[in-house]
C-alpha cells in the first residue's frame, strides 16, 4: 500500500507539479522545435516516453550491479549516454525491421532523442533520488507523459499564435518563449495538488 501511494505521488508529481518541460526545463529544444503541429508533438512525445522508460530500465541494473560494485560511480555520465545512444539505435533498428508502419511515424524523432537532455536527465535523477527499480520506471513514465501532455497543449497554443498579429520585434522565438511562460504559469496552479490528494 505504501509503495502504491509512493508511486502515485511520483506519477502525479512528474506529470503536473514538477513537469519536465515547464518546471525542470528538460528537453526545451524539441519543445520549441517540434511543437509546431499536433502530429509532430504527439510523435515526439511518445518517442521520448518510450526511450525514457526503456533507458531507465536499462541504466538501473547497470548502475547498481556493475558501476557500484566496481566503485566507478563517477563514470555514470559517460556510461549512461552510451547506453542511451545504443538503446535508441536498437529501438530504431527493431522498429524498422518489424514494425515499419510505426517506424514511419516515429522514426524521424528517434535520432533527435539521443541528445535530448530529458533522457539523460531522468536516468541521473533516478540515481540522485535513490529511487528503486519500479520507482525509477514510474518516474520516467511520469516524466514522459508530462512531456507529451505539455507538447500537445503547447502545439495548440502555437497554432493560435501563428494566426495572430504579433509585434514585429517579438516574431518567431521570443513570442514562443513568452507563450511558454504563460503556459508554465498555468501549471503553477497545480502546486500542492499532489499533497492534497495523497496527504503528503
Amino acid at each position: 500500500m505504501e509503495l502504491a501511494r509512493n508511486l502515485m505521488v511520483i506519477l502525479f508529481t512528474g506529470i503536473l507539479t514538477e513537469n519536465f518541460i515547464l518546471n525542470k526545463f528538460y528537453g526545451i529544444c524539441p519543445f520549441l522545435g517540434v511543437s509546431k503541429t499536433t502530429d509532430g508533438a504527439v510523435g515526439m512525445g511518445i518517442a521520448v516516453t518510450l526511450v525514457m522508460t526503456g533507458s531507465s530500465a536499462v541504466t538501473y541494473p547497470i548502475y547498481h550491479y556493475v558501476l557500484e560494485p566496481l566503485g566507478i560511480e563517477y563514470l555514470k555520465t559517460v556510461c549512461f549516454i552510451l547506453i542511451i545512444a545504443a538503446f535508441v539505435q536498437t529501438v530504431e533498428m527493431i522498429l524498422k525491421k518489424y514494425v515499419p508502419s510505426l517506424y514511419k511515424s516515429l522514426g524521424v524523432y528517434l535520432p533527435l532523442i539521443t541528445t535530448n537532455c530529458a533522457v539523460l536527465g531522468v536516468t541521473i535523477l533516478n540515481i540522485d533520488n535513490e529511487f528503486g527499480f519500479v520507482e525509477s520506471i514510474v518516474n520516467a513514465l511520469a516524466g514522459g507523459i508530462g512531456f507529451l501532455l505539455v507538447m500537445v497543449i503547447f502545439s495548440g497554443v502555437r497554432e493560435r499564435i501563428s494566426r495572430c498579429n504579433v509585434p514585429k520585434a517579438l516574431e518567431g522565438t521570443p513570442i514562443t518563449l513568452i507563450a511558454a511562460s504563460v503556459t508554465s504559469l498555468s501549471f503553477v496552479g497545480f502546486s500542492g495538488i499532489v499533497d492534497g490528494i495523497f496527504g503528503g
Binding site: G33, Y74, V108, C117, L125, A169, S181
Partner: protein, 220 residues
C-alpha cells in the same frame, strides 16, 4: 586577424545561445541567480574548449561513421572531470547546478561546435572558436541571470540593489519568469542587431543528416 574573428564571432554575432538558439535548457534552468549563470557558463566553456581541442586533434583518426558517439564520449569525459572538480572545490555551486552539471554532456552547443567547426578546422582556430562560443554563452547566462535575480529578489550577484520598499517580483525566479526573460532578451538583441533571430538552426543540429526537414529549416 582571422584568428581574432574566430574568437569574436561567438560573442555577439553568432552567439550560440541568443542568436543560434542552442543550449536553451541550462539557460532557463540555472539562471535564477547571476552567480549560477557565471558558474555554469565557465564550466561549459571549459568543456567546450577542451573538447574542441581534442576533437580537432583527432579528426583524422575518428572514422566518419561513428564520429558522433566518439564526440559524445570525449565530451562526457571532460564533463565528468569538471563535475568531480566542482564537487570538491566549489560544492555550493555544484549543488546549485545539480543535474545540469552532468547535462553539459548533451548541451547542443558543444556537440554542434564539434560537428560544425572542430572536425573541419585546425587546432588553434578550434580552441579560439570554443573559447568565443563559451564566453558568448556565459555572457548570455549572466545577462539573463542578472535580470531575473534583480527583478525576482532585488539583488545582483548576491548584493542588494533594489531599495527595501520595492517588493521583489518572485515570479521572475519561478520557471515562468525564465521563459519570459529569455524571450525578452532575444527580442531586444534582435532589435539592437536589426536581425531577426533565426527560427531553429539546423546547421549545428547533430541529427541534420538523418533529418529530412533541413531544407525547410524547421524540426519535424
Amino acid at each position: 586577424m582571422s584568428y581574432m574573428k574566430e574568437f569574436t564571432k561567438g560573442l555577439l554575432k553568432e552567439n550560440p545561445n541568443l542568436v543560434m538558439l542552442l543550449g536553451m535548457c541550462p539557460t532557463l534552468a540555472v539562471t535564477t541567480m547571476a552567480q549560477n549563470g557565471l558558474g555554469m557558463g565557465l564550466a561549459t566553456t571549459f568543456v567546450l574548449v577542451c573538447s574542441n581541442l581534442v576533437i580537432s586533434l583527432l579528426k583524422k583518426v575518428i572514422p566518419d561513421t561513428v564520429r558522433l558517439p566518439c564526440y559524445i564520449v570525449i565530451i562526457a569525459g571532460f564533463v565528468t572531470f569538471v563535475s568531480i572538480m566542482l564537487d570538491s572545490f566549489l560544492p555550493d555551486l555544484a549543488e546549485a547546478l545539480g543535474v545540469f552539471l552532468s547535462l553539459i554532456t548533451v548541451n547542443c552547443i558543444i556537440l554542434g561546435r564539434a560537428e560544425m567547426f572542430a572536425s573541419k578546422n585546425k587546432v588553434l582556430p578550434s580552441v579560439l572558436d570554443g573559447l568565443g562560443m563559451g564566453l558568448g554563452f556565459t555572457m548570455s547566462l549572466i545577462v539573463v541571470g542578472a535580470i531575473r535575480e534583480l527583478l525576482g529578489t532585488g539583488k545582483i550577484f548576491g548584493f542588494q540593489i533594489a531599495p527595501d520598499f520595492v517588493q521583489p517580483m518572485t515570479i521572475f525566479i519561478l520557471p515562468a519568469g525564465g521563459f519570459f526573460t529569455l524571450g525578452c532578451v532575444i527580442a531586444v538583441l534582435g532589435v539592437i542587431t536589426k536581425k531577426k533571430p533565426r527560427k531553429i538552426s539546423c546547421d549545428s543540429c547533430p541529427s541534420r543528416e538523418v533529418c529530412k526537414n533541413t531544407e525547410k529549416k524547421e524540426c519535424a
